[in-house]
């Protein structure tokens, strides 16, 4: 793709993600999640998504609550200290309204590492002896989805073999985590696609390369030449990014190193309110439907955003109230 043609709108970005897409995201639990794009997907009533995530969080709770997700494949979903678990996933698991597949955190990370390197599988010894490897709990197989029809769904959840080189014992071979689309929420992207992430980059480089198509939603689109004076500070090279979207506060209510903190009140209220489907629907009427991202941040209001704003010196907010004091 030639330069200068990667810029699209949030709404156009959401349209790239079709019904049934295998999808993954940037970030870690309650940090740098592409929530603005996810709200747009919900507005566009996307269905049958297959989420493959290193770990999950509020962003996927939005999608799951809204009925957009058919399969959730990951290791964790919750809201850190703002909500004990993913109430929407939990409800849909109980009601058998979603297919779930559990791996461990390192397993999911290594699966994306393999996919990002074009390796079909990778060996690890983590989680040996746990029910993660219980053959009865291969949920995609139980759902009849490991039949090879979808080329990105592995024929087995895992395979075992003995190390033939050093006598290091039983190894678990994990299939690469291949996905159709990765959506990244980041601080800065250049006009040609160079991504500069501030702070920990989590698994963003791996999920980017694991995907066939990568959409980057950035707080700011900046001139490439600004980023290219210091290539060591950049996280993802230009040619791994297909589309770019400029979207200030695009990760709210999750946090963005150097830009804004997690909106804990927002997430806590979401968690409490959406422990029933009715609660979720009410939340969606209030915060998702009938508005666009501009209306959303205006509804949040200046005081709230100023309060969350990160100190340029410290990269986090010194104003936000996090505890009881």
């Amino acid at each position: 793709m030639s330069s200068q043609s990667k810029r699209i709108t949030l709404s156009e970005a959401a349209e790239i993600i079709k019904d049934g897409t295998m999808l993954t995201f940037s970030g870690f639990t309650i940090w740098r999640r592409p929530c603005a794009l996810i709200f747009e997907l919900i507005r566009q009533k996307r269905r049958d998504l297959h989420l493959v995530e290193v770990n999950s969080g509020p962003h996927s709770e939005f999608l799951i609550g809204a009925g957009c997700v058919k399969i959730w494949e990951s290791c964790w979903i919750g809201h850190e200290l703002y909500g004990k678990y993913g109430a929407n996933l939990s409800r849909k698991v109980k009601n058998k309204e979603i297919i779930f597949e559990d791996y461990s955190h390192a397993e999911m990370g290594f699966r994306f590492l393999a996919a990002s390197a074009g390796m079909p599988f990778i060996a690890t010894q983590t989680s040996l002896g746990t029910d993660i490897h219980n053959p009865e709990y291969d949920m995609l197989r139980r759902a009849g989805l490991r039949n090879g029809k979808n080329p990105k769904i592995a024929r087995k959840k895992y395979e075992t073999m003995q190390d033939p080189f050093y006598g290091d014992g039983l190894q678990i071979l994990l299939p690469a985590a291949k996905v159709d689309v990765a959506v990244l929420s980041v601080q800065q992207v250049g006009e040609e696609g160079t991504v500069r992430i501030g702070g920990q980059f989590f698994t963003d480089p791996e999920v980017c390369r694991a995907a066939d198509t990568t959409i980057v939603v950035a707080e700011e689109i900046v001139p490439e030449e600004c980023l290219r004076t210091e290539p060591r500070l950049n996280t993802i090279p230009s040619f791994q990014v297909d589309y770019i979207v400029e979207c200030p506060y695009g990760a709210h209510p999750t946090g963005m190193f150097g830009y804004y903190d997690v909106d804990g009140d927002f997430i806590r209220n979401f968690y409490m309110q959406t422990r029933t489907q009715e609660g979720f629907d009410e939340f969606a009427r209030e915060w998702i439907f009938g508005m666009d991202h501009t209306a959303y941040i205006n509804k949040l209001g200046v005081d709230r955003l100023v309060n969350l704003q990160a100190s340029r010196a410290l990269n986090f907010s010194t104003r936000v109230k996090r505890g009881q004091k």
Binding site: F28, T29, I30, W31, V54, C75, W76, I77, G78, E80, L81, Y85, G86, S90, V93, K94, K96, F100, D102, S104, H105, A106, E107, G109, F110, T124, Q125, T126, S127, L128, G129, T130, D131, I132, H133, N134, P135, E136, T160, D163, G167, D168, G169, L170, G199, Q200, F201, F202, D204, P205, E206, G255, F257, V262, A310, F316, R322, G323, Q324, K325
Partner: protein, 274 residues
Amino acid sequence: MERHDFAKPGEYTLADLMTVAASREVNDNEVVFAGTGMPMIAIMLAQRTHAPNLKLIFEAGTFDGRPNVIPTSVGDPRCEGGASRASGLCEAFSIAQRGYVDLGFLGGAEVDEYGNVNTTAIGNYLDPNLRLTGSGGNPDINSFARRTVFIMVHEARRFTRNVSYITSPGWRVKKWPSGEFVHRRELYGSAFRGGPSAVISTAGVFRFDEDTGRMYLDTYHPGKTPEEIKGLCQFDLDISRVKGETAPPNYDELHIIHEVLDKEEIFLPKPKKS
């Protein structure tokens, strides 16, 4: 001025006691993996008391950090204060699998006598009473670290004969495809480095016999008795090796917890004045 004499009942909370007990599990110079909340405060407390050279790892990708402000989670920008390196999760778990990690702090919803822990689902996994968060890094840190310490609420339904789902591997784990229980050492081969070392519950501190893999009561928290704690376990808890009461926090530790680390009262509210 540091005050190393013990605080009196009422001057500290149960959470303070547990945090301090967790902190004392850390030795100086160790590489320690910490999760959000109480474990984080426990390690940052150890860093400021008896283990100034511990190396703190957050699984999101921060190495040897010395944060001045308590992070809200391991993905928080606050993690990076004074850190040696910040990168990502694959590097963190590669480092762990490579064998650099001495100690990890973890939580759990259920634990069995062998230290198997469940954080995934209560009841039948395929038709659960309650779906929880899932594993997170719990099994990974527990697979790779030399010692792991679990911090848990103590209720009889949580200290169970059989956990609903083994999320995190204890001393006797399942060998697939049969699912028969074997000693952890048998399964991990050359990757065997240790396993659960302690459980710090709201009732006491528990340890494990490495050979049998069974849990035993080490110390009981002030106000509890070994028999009472035994009654709060569905399995037959070994209380024959109990040493006495869990040592309470000292004033220096309480000062660091409440006036330095968590003065915002994010994770550990101050004891209420009577």
